[in-house]
Symmetry: C2
Subunit: 163 residues, 2 copies
């Protein structure tokens, strides 16, 4: 598995998509989960870019391609994809993004550019270890971590320092 492209750098994004879909198929097969056409299409739409996409944006794209769809269709697909670690929900944006480390049992940390909207998923053991230790020091049992960093990506610095 090659290194991931940085979202805010020009890159052949079709590779991102096909790699994500291939991994998804493999993971679902291994886990005996059914990556149905709707679920796969939703995953593909989420991967259309590296910008987190709202559920209703996905819904609109589905509708625009003739797929009769209502909110539960999308939310169910997204729930499924989250369950198998194929997408993440970005709580601070009410939006969803494809997981860049599917199947790797990781704690995602997202760098979200407020200018271009792209999000980069990182895993950093120093960070997650520090978090677990801080929580452990309070005798708290960690189950889920939401870590989202808003700011400016390298490409957007200098251009518009302010909104």
């Amino acid at each position: 598995m090659s290194a991931r492209a940085l979202p805010y750098r020009p890159h052949n994004h079709d590779d991102c998509v096909s790699q994500a879909l291939a991994e998804a198929r493999a993971i679902c097969q291994e886990q005996h989960a059914r990556l149905t056409p709707t679920r796969e299409r939703v995953l593909e739409l989420i991967w259309e870019s590296h910008k987190p996409l709202g559920a209703y944006d996905v819904l609109a794209k589905l509708a625009s391609e003739g797929h009769s769809a209502a909110p539960p269709t999308v939310y169910r697909a997204l729930d499924f994809l989250q369950q198998y670690g194929l997408v993440h929900r970005i709580a601070s944006l009410n939006a969803f993004i494809g997981c860049a480390h599917a199947g790797e049992h990781h704690t995602g940390m997202f760098l979200i550019c407020r200018s271009c909207g792209n999000a980069l998923e990182l895993t950093d053991t120093t960070v997650s270890k520090a978090i677990h230790e801080a929580a452990g020091a309070e005798a708290f049992v960690t189950e889920a971590i939401t870590l989202e960093i808003a700011g400016l990506c390298p490409s957007c610095q200098g251009e518009q320092p302010n909104g």
Copy 2:
């Protein structure tokens, strides 16, 4: 300024409230910001417990005490309070909680118990340093950090390990 009580331990919570209000008044005076009755009352309601409170919960409490109020009233007060660092928004819960470190220029990290609902705000320099370094390694300019840990607080462990 004494150490804060742990939210999930029995404590004299009136002290939490009065300390928070006193700090808020001091901060607003210093910053030439107007802590109007509505804003102060909203802050007080947020501080009614250590559980994050939804905007519409605040609204209901205001209404129940005769204060004619609509959503914008609450959201405006919450915006103001956030702006002056007196409350935090918990993105993963769509809820708000009083800041335990008002005026201290900090990055809050929240331990949120899924059983009792209480949230503890920590500041941990090891964690924030690790986060800033990880973001810096990607040449990302950090502006805001959302860090919310869901799990079980000490008081709730053992009782109901599952939902």
